[in-house]
């Protein structure tokens, strides 16, 4: 792994939303659009069906499309891989909303600028973990520091999460355990490729 990023254990995430709340509080976005979101994947499309949760925010891509397209250099990729957005340079043109294939940048109507997750860069600089990671009660969401390697069984893509724009997101997944689930994910991956 070249830069810092998140690691999500799909077997552990229960979709409680603590990460979303922690992100809101840490970044003073209690009423504003959340930077992190928890997306359910309901395997049977039934209320009680087995469900996986993808807790996603900015993936701090190795080749960020937002940075590539931004006309005003509002985005910066730090040496540790964290992609930060400088609001004071943002025009509010919302081009990054179009270029990011993960729906990460969010337009703030009140401020007239875009904003997004910065991996709690200040906390990282102080040697602390991001607020969402600290708040996760099941240890499903973790932060992989720059230059550190993710677990050997971690994968970059799971059904429902692909890289359509060649951004190389720095997000890794630990997939669900069990042979049947592994098979299911394999079949799903093949079906989606078709």
């Amino acid at each position: 792994m070249s830069g810092a990023g998140f690691l999500l254990d799909l077997h552990r995430c229960v979709g409680c939303g603590a990460c979303v709340l922690a992100c809101r509080i840490e970044n003073g976005r209690v009423l504003a659009t959340a930077w992190r979101r928890v997306l359910p994947l309901n395997l049977r499309r039934q209320p009680a069906g087995p469900t996986y949760f993808l807790s996603v925010a900015c993936h701090h891509c190795d080749e960020p499309a937002c940075l590539r397209g931004c006309p005003s250099h509002a985005y910066e990729k730090r040496p540790d891989g964290v992609v930060v957005h400088h609001e004071e340079r943002c025009l509010g043109c919302r081009y990054c909303e179009m270029t990011c294939p993960f729906g990460t940048p969010r337009f703030d109507e009140d401020k007239g600028v875009v904003s997004k997750c910065h991996l709690c860069a200040r906390r990282l600089d102080a040697g602390l973990a991001p607020a969402c990671v600290v708040a996760c009660p099941t240890d499903a969401l973790r932060c992989v520091p720059a230059a550190a390697a993710p677990p050997a069984d971690a994968v970059r893509f799971v059904p429902g999460f692909i890289d359509p724009a060649g951004c190389r997101p720095a997000l890794h997944f630990v997939t669900p355990a069990g042979t049947r689930r592994v098979e299911l994910f394999r079949h799903l991956g093949e079906a989606l490729r078709r």
Partner: protein, 275 residues
């Protein structure tokens, strides 16, 4: 799927800019090939472009920082467009000024035509975003082809001397060829049911069809049978439908979109279900 909302000023800007630049490019073509000069078309092109540029500011959340958009010139497609827009307008204004008040200078008109053509291409490249499924391939060339077709139609419709019908027909045919390719590309994309529920997607064939009829089919018949300035209005409506449809049919492969597709596959293949 990502639906881009609140982009009314963007649709207005691109419609006006494409119409304006298209008039300049078509004028330059006519001047080079047929030595046909139409100062009123040049003036109209300048006015449309200037209005479009003004309207485009309405899209920005921070209008006072608009000049910062030039910082990414050479790297960002949007910066390139922002750089070319005033340049194209300045060239067009110079050509129009010379055409109206002075002696026509074909070289200046040709330069203006080339710069405006580059501007139209730059508009197309802004939207050629990886991950945006419906904005790929021939979509990037629709501003240039559509703008030139509109310009030719408008000049021919407003011409009292008979104009340059053959060349106008050629521009329309070129636009039709480009647009049919875009239509085919969009039609080939598998649209998830969740996206089909959206009004734009639900009526995508009607939207694409309306654009094709208004800009490429109706003007041909009207120019041959009833050549009045009304034809230009029909073509202008076609351009507006083109840009509205372009935004309304945006289909981005976001994580939400992918998850919706996975759930759809699961629903259609019960043997994949977990027990």
């Amino acid at each position: 799927m990502s639906r881009h909302t609140g982009h009314g000023p963007l649709v207005a800007f691109t419609s006006l800019a494409i119409a304006g630049a298209g008039l300049i490019v078509a004028s330059a073509c006519f001047e080079v090939v047929h030595h046909h000069i139409c100062p009123s078309a040049l003036v109209a092109g300048v006015l449309l472009q200037a209005t479009g540029l003004t309207v485009s500011l309405g899209h920005l959340g921070q209008k006072r920082r608009a000049a910062l958009a030039l910082r990414g010139a050479g790297r960002s497609a949007l910066s390139n467009e922002v750089l070319l827009a005033p340049l194209a307008l300045a060239c067009a204004a110079l050509t129009a000024g010379i055409g109206v008040w002075g002696r026509p200078m074909p070289a200046v008109t040709v330069i203006a035509g080339v710069v405006n053509a580059a501007f139209l291409v730059s508009i197309g490249l802004v939207y050629r975003v990886r991950g945006q499924q419906t904005w790929q391939g021939f979509s990037a060339f629709t501003p240039l082809a559509g703008g030139c077709a509109f310009g030719g139609i408008a000049i021919q419709a407003g011409s009292v001397t008979g104009g340059v019908l053959n060349m106008v027909m050629l521009l329309i045919v070129l636009d039709a060829a480009v647009f049919v390719q875009r239509w085919r590309e969009v039609a080939a994309i598998r649209i998830p049911a969740a996206s089909l529920a959206d009004s734009g997607m639900a009526y995508r064939d009607q939207l694409l069809g309306a654009r094709f009829v208004l800009l490429d089919v109706l003007p041909v018949f009207l120019l041959l049978a009833w050549p009045t300035p009304l034809v230009a209005a029909v073509a202008a409506a076609g351009l507006v439908v083109d840009r509205t449809g372009f935004c309304a049919l945006a289909l981005q492969r976001t994580t939400e979109h992918e998850l919706a597709e996975v759930e759809e596959i699961l629903a259609s293949a019960p043997n994949l279900h977990e027990s």
